[in-house]
C-alpha cells in the first residue's frame, strides 16, 4: 500500500507545520486581532475598540520615546557593526600566524549568553568601573553615577556593548562571503595592474553585496527587537525604553494591557517590514551603491 506522494510529504512535514501553525501563525494573527481590542489579562472578556489603541500609542510620550530610542539604536549600531565586521573579516582572511586564534576570539562573544555579557558590562560601566577609569585617563567626562545610570549615556553604553558582542558573528558571515570570491578575479586584476584598493572596490565589495544585504537585514531586525540588554541592564529607565521593552512592560507587567501592547508590537512589525523592503530595494539597485 502506498500513499500518494503529496500525502506522504504532508505527513512528514506535519510536526513542523502544526507547530508553526499553533505557536506562530495563530498567536501572530490573534495578536493582530487583540490590537483592536481592550484585552487585559486580568479582566473578564474584552471589547472591540477599533483604532483606539493605535491612536493612543501615537499620543503616548513613552511609546514615542521608545520609537526614538529604537531608531537611535538601529541607526547607531548597524553601520558600525557592518563596517567593523567587514574590516575584521578582511583582517582574518589573509594568512598570518595565530589567525585561528583571532577568528575564534572575535567570534566568542556571540556564543556567550547575552545575560552574562550584560552583567559583565554592568560591572564595567558602573561608578568606579574600568570604562569610567579609562575615560578619566584620557580626560573624557564620566557620569557621576556610572554610564548606565545617566540619561545621556545609558543608551549609548548599551549600543556599544551590542556592537562589541555582535560584530564577531557578522565577521564570520563576511568571512564566508570573502572565501567564495573566485581567486582568478584577483589574479586577473593584479596582472592588469589594479591597486589593492581598486581590487577591493571593484571585486570584493560588489561580490559581497548579497552577503552585506543579509548582514544588514538580519542585524536590523535583531536590533529593532532589542530587549534582553534593556531588561537586564536598565529596565527601560534612563531613557533606554525601546519598542519591545515597551510591549513587555505594558502587556506583561503592571496593568497587563495585552491589547495595547499587541498594537505596539504591530507598529514595530510594520516598521521592520518597511525597513527590510527599503534595504532590499537599495541594495538591489544597479551601479555603485557603496
Amino acid at each position: 500500500m502506498s500513499l500518494p506522494r503529496s500525502a506522504t510529504s504532508l505527513a512528514l512535514t506535519s510536526p513542523w507545520t502544526i507547530t508553526l501553525a499553533a505557536f506562530w501563525v495563530f498567536p501572530v494573527a490573534y495578536s493582530l486581532y487583540m490590537g483592536f481590542t481592550d484585552y487585559r489579562l486580568l479582566a473578564h472578556g474584552h471589547a472591540w475598540v477599533g483604532w483606539d489603541n493605535y491612536r493612543e500609542l501615537f499620543a503616548d510620550p513613552a511609546f514615542l520615546s521608545a520609537l526614538r530610542n529604537t531608531f537611535i539604536f538601529v541607526l547607531g549600531t548597524i553601520p558600525l557593526t557592518t563596517v567593523l565586521a567587514l574590516g575584521m573579516a578582511l583582517l582574518v582572511d589573509r594568512p598570518f600566524q595565530g589567525r585561528a586564534f583571532f577568528r575564534s576570539a572575535f567570534f566568542l562573544p556571540s556564543i556567550t549568553s547575552m545575560v552574562v555579557i550584560a552583567l559583565i558590562f554592568m560591572n564595567l560601566y558602573q561608578r568606579g568601573g574600568y570604562v569610567g577609569l579609562l575615560a578619566e585617563l584620557v580626560g573624557l567626562p564620566v557620569p557621576a553615577n556610572g554610564f548606565l545610570y545617566d540619561n545621556g549615556t545609558a543608551l549609548f553604553a548599551i549600543m556599544a556593548m551590542d556592537v562589541w558582542m555582535s560584530v564577531g558573528y557578522y565577521m564570520l558571515i563576511f568571512l564566508a562571503g570573502l572565501q567564495a570570491v573566485p581567486h582568478e578575479l584577483y589574479e586577473a586584476a593584479e596582472i592588469n595592474g589594479a591597486s589593492a584598493w581598486r581590487r577591493f572596490r571593484s571585486i570584493t565589495l560588489p561580490l559581497l553585496r548579497p552577503v552585506a544585504l543579509f548582514v544588514i537585514v538580519i542585524n536590523s531586525i535583531k536590533s529593532f527587537q532589542v530587549f534582553v540588554e534593556i531588561f537586564v541592564m536598565t529596565r527601560g529607565k534612563f531613557d533606554t525604553m525601546t519598542c519591545v521593552y515597551f510591549v513587555y512592560e505594558n502587556g506583561l507587567t503592571t496593568a497587563f494591557r495585552v491589547g495595547y501592547a499587541s498594537a505596539a508590537a504591530y507598529v514595530l512589525l510594520v516598521i521592520i517590514a518597511l525597513f527590510s523592503v527599503a534595504q532590499f530595494a537599495l541594495m538591489r539597485r544597479r551601479g555603485p551603491a557603496w
Binding site: 561608578r127 545610570y149 529596565r235 529607565k237 507587567t253 503592571t254
Partner: protein, 421 residues
C-alpha cells in the same frame, strides 16, 4: 468487563474525593532559610486537617505577578494566593479575589494591615507578614566623621548635616544612599518624605490628587538636595552592599537587611531608627524637653506586606480559608518571623513575643510600622505610581523643577482618574 472496571474506578474516585480535597497555594518564599518552615507549616496543617491536602507552588518576585495574571486569564488560578499589598486592588477590582469580609469579621481585631486589603469597603485578603522600612545608620562612619556614634538624626536638617559630615570623609564614602530609577521601588523611597512633610497623594475624601501640594514639593526638594549633596546612587541591592562595606552613612531599608547582616555574619556596627521627620507645623526647631520623637517629628514610612487571598475561581473556598487562618495564626507568624527574621507580623499577639520585644532593631520596625502610611488601595495605583516615579526621576536625574514635575504628575493622575470613572 470494561464497564465494571470503569465503575470501580469511578467509585474509588468518588470515595477518595470525599475523603480528601487538594487545594493549591502559590507562594513566594523560596529562600532555603524559610522554605522548610513553610513546608513544615503545611504538613502540620495537613495533620490537623486530614481531609485536606495542600499543593505548594513557588513563585519568584521577578515574574510572580506575571504568572498570577496569566493563570487568572487562562482559568488556572490556584485556590490560595500570596499577594503583595500593592496588587490587591488590581485583582479585586477585576473580580478575581473572593470577598472574605464576612469570613474574617470574628478575628479582625487581632490583626494590623486590614486597610491594605480593603477595596471599596470590602476585604479581599488577610494580612500575613507586613513590612516597613527604617533608617539604617553606620556607626563607624559617624565616628570617623567626628560625630557621636550614637547620633540619631531626628529631623531632616539633622540628617542632612550628618550626611554632609560623612561625605566629607571622601575616598568613596558617602553620607546618603539614593535609589536609581527603579520601577515599583523609587516611589516607596520618595513617598515617606511626602508623608513626613504632611503631604498626601489624594485628598482625605479620596476625590482629588494633591501630589503637587507645597508639602509634597518641599519633600521632593529635600529628597533632591540630599541626593545632590552627598549621595551614593545605585539600585537597592547596590546601596545595601555599599552600606555593609562601610561606604554609606545612612540608607533606608527593610528587615531583609537585618536578615542579611545576620546570615552573612557581617561585623558592621550599625543602629536603626525611625525615619527622620519634618513636621511642617513645627518647622525645623526641636521643642526643648519633648522626648517623644513620634509626637513631634513624625517620620512616616512606607507600609506594605504579604497577604493571603482566596481566588473567585476556587471551588474549595472553605478549605482555602482554613489554610489561610492556620498560616496566619499568631504562633505560626512567630514561627515564620523567627525563621525569616521578619520584623512585622500582622498579628498583634504575635508581636508580643519575646523574639520581637528583646531585639532593639525589630522594635524599631515595630515602632515605625505604627508610623507608616500606604498608597491608596486603587486598581489604578499602578498608573499613579508610574507618574509619581516619572516626576521624581525627572527632578533627581534631569534637573526638572520639583513643582512643575509634580504638577505634571498631578494633571496626568487626575486625567486618568476622570477617565476611569
Amino acid at each position: 468487563m470494561r464497564i465494571t472496571t470503569a465503575l470501580i474506578a469511578l467509585g474509588l474516585g468518588v470515595t477518595s474525593a470525599r475523603a480528601q480535597t487538594t487545594i493549591e497555594w502559590w507562594q513566594f518564599w523560596t529562600d532555603p532559610s524559610i522554605k522548610p518552615t513553610i513546608e513544615a507549616m503545611v504538613q502540620d496543617f495537613e495533620r490537623e486537617n486530614p481531609d485536606i491536602r495542600v499543593k505548594l507552588t513557588d513563585l519568584t518576585w521577578a515574574n510572580g505577578h506575571e504568572k498570577i495574571a496569566i493563570a487568572v486569564a487562562s482559568g488556572t488560578a490556584p485556590d490560595v494566593l500570596e499577594l503583595g499589598s500593592d496588587w490587591i486592588a488590581q485583582f479585586a477590582a477585576e473580580g478575581q479575589l473572593a470577598d472574605i469580609s464576612d469570613d474574617i469579621a470574628l478575628d479582625s481585631a487581632g490583626f494590623n494591615g486590614w486597610s491594605l486589603a480593603t477595596y471599596r469597603g470590602r476585604v479581599y485578603a488577610r494580612p500575613w507578614i507586613l513590612g516597613t522600612r527604617v533608617l539604617f545608620i553606620n556607626q563607624d562612619l559617624l565616628k570617623r566623621a567626628g560625630l557621636d556614634e550614637n547620633t540619631v538624626p531626628v529631623t531632616w536638617g539633622e540628617l542632612m548635616a550628618a550626611a554632609q559630615a560623612i561625605s566629607k570623609l571622601g575616598r568613596g564614602v558617602y553620607g546618603w544612599g539614593s535609589n536609581i530609577a527603579e520601577k515599583h521601588r523609587l516611589y516607596k523611597k520618595f513617598l515617606p518624605f511626602v508623608w513626613s512633610n504632611g503631604g498626601q497623594i489624594l485628598s482625605d475624601d479620596g476625590e482629588f490628587c494633591v501630589i503637587s501640594s507645597t508639602r509634597a514639593v518641599g519633600a521632593l526638594k529635600f529628597y533632591k538636595s540630599l541626593q545632590d549633596c552627598c549621595s551614593f546612587v545605585d539600585d537597592q541591592r547596590g546601596l545595601e552592599d555599599a552600606f555593609l562595606d562601610n561606604k554609606i552613612g545612612f540608607i533606608i531599608s527593610g528587615d531583609w537587611l537585618l536578615k542579611r547582616i545576620q546570615q552573612e555574619k557581617r561585623s558592621i556596627r550599625f543602629a536603626t531608627s525611625i525615619l527622620p521627620g519634618n513636621n511642617p507645623n513645627l518647622g525645623e526647631e526641636r521643642t526643648p524637653g519633648v522626648r517623644s520623637i513620634a509626637e513631634v517629628y513624625p517620620g512616616k514610612s512606607f507600609l506594605g506586606g504579604e497577604f493571603l487571598a482566596v481566588t473567585t475561581s476556587s471551588t474549595h473556598r472553605a478549605e482555602a480559608l482554613k489554610l489561610i487562618a492556620y498560616i496566619t495564626r499568631p504562633e505560626n507568624q512567630v514561627r515564620f518571623c523567627k525563621a525569616n527574621y521578619s520584623a512585622n507580623p500582622s498579628s498583634r499577639n504575635a508581636q508580643q513575643d519575646a523574639f520581637f520585644q528583646e531585639n532593639p532593631h525589630l522594635q524599631t520596625f515595630g515602632r515605625q510600622m505604627r508610623l507608616s502610611s500606604h498608597p491608596p488601595v486603587d486598581p489604578d495605583w499602578v498608573f499613579m505610581e508610574d507618574e509619581i516615579e516619572k516626576a521624581v526621576e525627572d527632578v533627581v536625574f534631569n534637573d526638572a523643577a520639583p513643582g512643575e514635575a509634580l504638577r505634571r504628575a498631578q494633571i496626568r493622575i487626575t486625567e486618568l482618574r476622570t477617565k476611569a470613572k
